[in-house]
Assembly symmetry: D2
Homo-oligomer: 436 residues x 4
């Protein structure tokens, strides 16, 4: 079994390698190909050698290849994972800083920043999918490149490659439920979209206890460690109880927009402060320092500070579930097909699903509250217009998408910031031109 | 035929009186009852006497009654029109100033202000409808009390009274089309919701010419006089053409939020400036000065400055169309019943309809673009949650409604402003209490 | 204004000519082209000369042309009407007799017979529409070729020609309501599909009186003259009242299948009896005898026995309504576009609509009872599969369509009768082959 | 754990007892209460004593109680299964013979017979559910009383009791797939309604192989043993391939109505022949003879001839899956909740689902072909009208339901046969009266 990791020079790589090592008995990976581009060559070599040392130390029968030749790597692959970032961390920092300088949420996957990341990433992922159609048409593409919902939907709609999107955010919901119950023998049925997911049912000892446990769930969430990317501003118990479902951390951008914005603007400090991207960049630099140590042959603990914890674990679990057809229930990004009847059949949603070797089969939840249906309708229409814009390069479609996004300021300013963004990301947006 | 006008002390009254005078041949109104509350007694007397002089001068067979006794007035009425304002102009001014002082759009019918107006008005209109069920169960309620969409929907869903909502905004679309074509022999098919309406088709000489005439339509709109309440910031031709439909003036709050907000904040000047409500109040004071003149026996030209031009004209047209069953096409607020299949059947929408003596029958337009469907989905869900909150007094439902509204800031601030509003409007919100 | 009538050699022609003569003041038709095929040459000449004598006698400024050259006729036409019959009356007789010989309803437009007529007619109408796209792209096609719903839908979906379908059956509903009320000042709002239509609302003096007048409506229908094609078996008042809408005559095939079948089988008498097609053929022969009389210059009264009364009247009314943009309410076959939200947007339905010069705009009725929705779902799916089969020639699609039709026997017999039909109609079904 | 079996005197009982014996290790049932009514006392004693001997011989720690006191039995139950037949086998025989004598399909669960069975059974099951609400509100009702879809839906909609419906028919699909593949390591994803179910996907080794295996599936089905109740007339490979899904045996009543009817009529022989009910009655009499043997202490092999094979096995599997929360995939009758988006949320459907201790969670299949959607729409509307009639006793609703059913003759005959049925089943239809 051959695994290919696009963006193999990422600081995350030791985590996924550890994942494969730990599962080797049930998931006998024989080749791991770490692929990167010329600009990431140095990082690829550093982290790649660590990966090789890890595998060697583990004593498993598996070979780690490092390459800049994507097509060579893809040939005959069984699973392809993606963790690349078009424009590297510098692009993310622009996605954060430009909106902030105009008083808008500046965030990697939400609002204007998430929109720009989609414009840059979708053409690249479709290129990869096209290569896969030729070189490994039966391989699974396990996407955890953000914005995961849009990137996954682009592949699912515009290529023939089997693709599942993954995210670490839902895992925090599950961990919190576990912490609250002091028991792991439950089923948390989640449904929504990536970064816009809710826990809808909590099945425990024969009943859906979510309604009576919501207040408790909120308290546990407010007090426990959550995803690092999003400031853990406490949820209002009344608000969540009236909603009747448990939101994920990222919902704060929509339900507490002002507090999140204030928080970000304070940190940004009129341009003098750092954004999350810059912090992560520093963490990464430190990590790569560690990775260079030729005596290091395990995943260093410091990687956990990086943010994307559980990501690679989820990816390895998913690969194993597909490979062994073990019918595990996971929360994944897959095609709607009527699971949320008010969204198009070919929309990508995030949902609890049973994993089979033919892919995820969504579990059907009861109808969402009308407010949640409305929110998903907004977010998905924004996403579909964004995907359309990313593929066509149509400026007006871009404006229309942004006009629907609740985190973007509307009117003349939308055009101005879009122009500024096109200018700033010019190298990675070949189809796009400023419009006066 | 007996007509009752609730809020008869309004400065608008001369317009509706003129309307009945002009149509008297086809619409033989024999009694007009102007009703107001104690607080509006003086204005009722002033404008009421003018009304009486107007009718007398016109020499038609019709008697104008002035009363503070609503139930007496309603008995046996054929048509009831409403133009009242719970809390008078002072309440409107609060609806504008409080949001502005928190950096949000401060507007009578949109955003936080419109929400508060709905909370105050819906219980009152339902009281009126209840009286009507008893005293004139077959009468038509012609509502032009704002926010018209929510007020009309409340009556249509929660009483047995036949109700149609009216607005002057669509008339500007029609006037603009007329100006553009230099011809009045066309059919402008409009659909959407009140203050969120689009011209969807422009039938002219056998074809729907809207698509090729949109740019022209935009230019004509940008250059012509429009509804006074909304600053006429020019539309971007590209934006409208990509949308494929002609928006109304109020769409600027949603498509150019930043410019509208800036405009308002500049005028507000940190609290030192006046809002539209205050201007209107001054205009009204001047009007009432004029109305006092015992020699005045026609509608004074100055009333046109007031803002609601065409309103009363529309009301008289509608009453005549119902009375004569003339199958006129008008743009009215009526129940959806599948006209917009993605909204509930019992939602009130604004649409071109054929008027019969059994009420409006909507004309069916082709499917809206997905972006418009999404926007209406948001706005209608906001409205339905607001109606629910207005009836129940539930604080959490109010927060949920506001969280969906694109013109309201989200998070802790929502609660703070709601509390401030409840405090400020205490006298007209008996069910509502501040929540810390 | 040039009118073209395809199938101009039909015995109906004097009626449509009379219609144009009577309306000439408002509808100044200057040329009428009667087109037929070689096989219909003699009839065309006979009825065509009568038409010429009628126009001459009326003294209007209009010329009647007779031609076998369809393309010459179509050039520059304003309106094209169709009244042709592929395979002439002989084909209809086969459509009736073959199903009857297998114990199934044998009827021109319903069941197996209607299905076969669609297979023969759809390719021909699409050919005509293709000619029109080239020779008179702005002309209106007024279709009254049966099965009207499928033939109209085929044109509306698979050509660019503007097309409205018409039928005389709804007129009987209107006439019956008029007879019942003793007044013509009402609005009968009908909705459904061709030959599967219901009166949904009866607006009269300000109210929808249908519910309380249904029993009366049933009685009036049972006692009055109805469409000649369908035996007037009395409706059960209980049944119709529970349905809550007034059915058309053709509904008897679905709601009283057994009685209709018995009636037909008795008349058929094991093959010794005549079917309706044979009777009509005889009537037609007599009519043509009359038509030959060079002194005849008006529509002979005997034509009314023929069956399609009101058809041509409806066509002339529709043409006039489009031409003068008079906003008349008519019951027509037009695209659904959400009027019946449970059917596809591009399905052709029959509905009350306001006629404009840009075509019919459907009036929106309230939701149909669930049983009616289900029935229309069946009938429309049958129709769409039939259209698909008529275009593709796919045998399995044909079987699938027939399997859904409530008047067709299911199983091996379906295949047998389809084979027999293909054999019998071979000359007009070039794409079809028997399958053993 | 206490299990209650309503209709415990059924000849099936030894099978369910064997099921509990075989699963005792994982499903430690401690009490089994067999309940029956006075009329079934003798059978209850015979089969009950056999059950007691079986349990004793198996040496498991479980007690079998026999009682005519349903309320005593229900108190504190964990699971209640139902296998009763209102009116016993005599009622079934009438359901078969009366329609046949009028030339209609005479069948226990389909057409007129299934309709009558629903009228008799639904009031009784709702009584049982009412008792359960009082005596064992947390128990699961495992229904395998036919017509299972309607009986289960009645409980799911009109009581608070948790209910799952079961049928043995889907098991034959699974067995046939197993036989075809020579492997049991596949997932057959089925969806539809009870006795109207299709295999939609066949996941095997990472792919949905149903499309390319359909012809094979048809051949295997045609050649293998299938459910005994339905004559195994071979499927037409073309028909099934065009459908794109594998039908169940009962689909023959709808897809091959004529052949099935001929088959039945031949056997019925103008009233001289036996129906399936009579055969089963004879088999049962023989079985009860066997059961009386005091030396018999195992399920006799002859029971397999009875027809309902796998039924009890399915029930025991389901009870075990709920009890152990083992996430097994089973095909069950449960609430739709959007699984089939074109049917109401509260409709009961049959679908592959993951079984948890909180009930089944449906697996989401891709959209059904439009023909299947239409068919389910018919069948479900028929069912819902039938349930409504069974509860209300409304004669017109009954006629409406029957008019929709494809196996029932329409018109005057419907009323005649309904009257005959009401007369024949008088003792078990207290609400119903003949209408002349």
């Amino acid at each position: 079994m051959k695994i290919v990791t696009i963006g193999g020079g990422s600081s995350y790589t030791p985590e996924i390698i550890e994942g494969f090592i730990n599962r080797h008995k049930n998931l006998p990976v024989s080749e791991i190909w770490l692929v990167d581009i010329e600009a990431g060559k140095k990082k690829l070599e550093t982290v790649g050698r660590l990966a090789q040392r890890m595998v060697e130390k583990a004593g498993i029968n598996c070979k780690v290849h490092l390459t800049l030749n994507r097509r060579e790597a893809l040939k005959g692959a069984s699973f392809v994972t993606t963790q690349f970032r078009v424009g590297l961390m510098e692009a993310r920092i622009l996605d954060e800083r430009i909106p902030l300088s105009h008083g808008m949420i500046g965030q990697e996957t939400n609002g204007f920043g998430g929109f720009m990341k989609a414009l840059r990433t979708i053409p690249v992922i479709l290129d990869i999918a096209k290569d896969m159609e030729e070189l490994c048409p039966n391989a699974w593409l396990i996407n955890f490149t953000n914005p995961s919902s849009m990137v996954t939907e682009a592949v699912q709609r515009f290529s023939k490659i089997k693709c599942v999107g993954l995210c670490n955010v839902p895992i925090y919901l599950v961990k919190t439920a576990e912490q609250m119950l002091g028991d792991s023998n439950f089923l948390l049925h989640c449904v929504g979209m990536n970064h816009y997911l809710w826990a809808r049912h909590l099945y425990y000892k024969g009943n859906d206890i979510l309604p009576e446990k919501l207040a408790d769930f909120v308290r546990t969430t407010n007090e426990s460690e959550q995803v690092r990317n999003v400031k853990n501003i406490p949820w209002d118990v009344n608000f969540v109880q009236h909603l009747g479902m448990m939101p994920v951390s990222y919902h704060r951008y929509y339900y507490m927009t002002e507090q999140m914005l204030e928080e970000e603007l304070t940190k940004f400090d009129g341009g003098k402060g750092k954004t999350r991207g810059q912090e992560v960049k520093e963490v990464e630099e430190k990590l790569f320092k560690l990775y260079e140590d030729p005596d290091l042959a395990v995943k260093p603990k410091e990687l956990e500070e990086r943010g994307g914890t559980y990501y690679s674990d989820a990816a390895c679990d998913l690969i194993q579930a597909i490979y062994t057809n073990n019918h595990q229930i996971m929360i994944v990004n897959t095609q709607n097909n009527g699971t949320l009847p008010f969204l198009p059949d070919d929309a990508t949603i995030e949902t609890s699903a049973m994993i089979t070797d033919a892919g995820p089969i969504p579990l059907k939840a009861t109808a969402l509250p009308i407010i949640a249906q409305t929110e998903l309708h907004i977010m998905k229409t924004f996403e579909r217009l964004t995907i359309e814009a990313a593929i066509s390069g149509n400026y007006d479609t871009a404006i229309q998408a942004l006009t629907l996004n609740p985190l973007v300021k509307k009117g003349e300013i939308t055009r101005q910031v879009l122009n500024e963004m096109i200018q700033a990301h010019k190298a990675h947006l070949p189809k796009w031109q400023v419009r006066k």
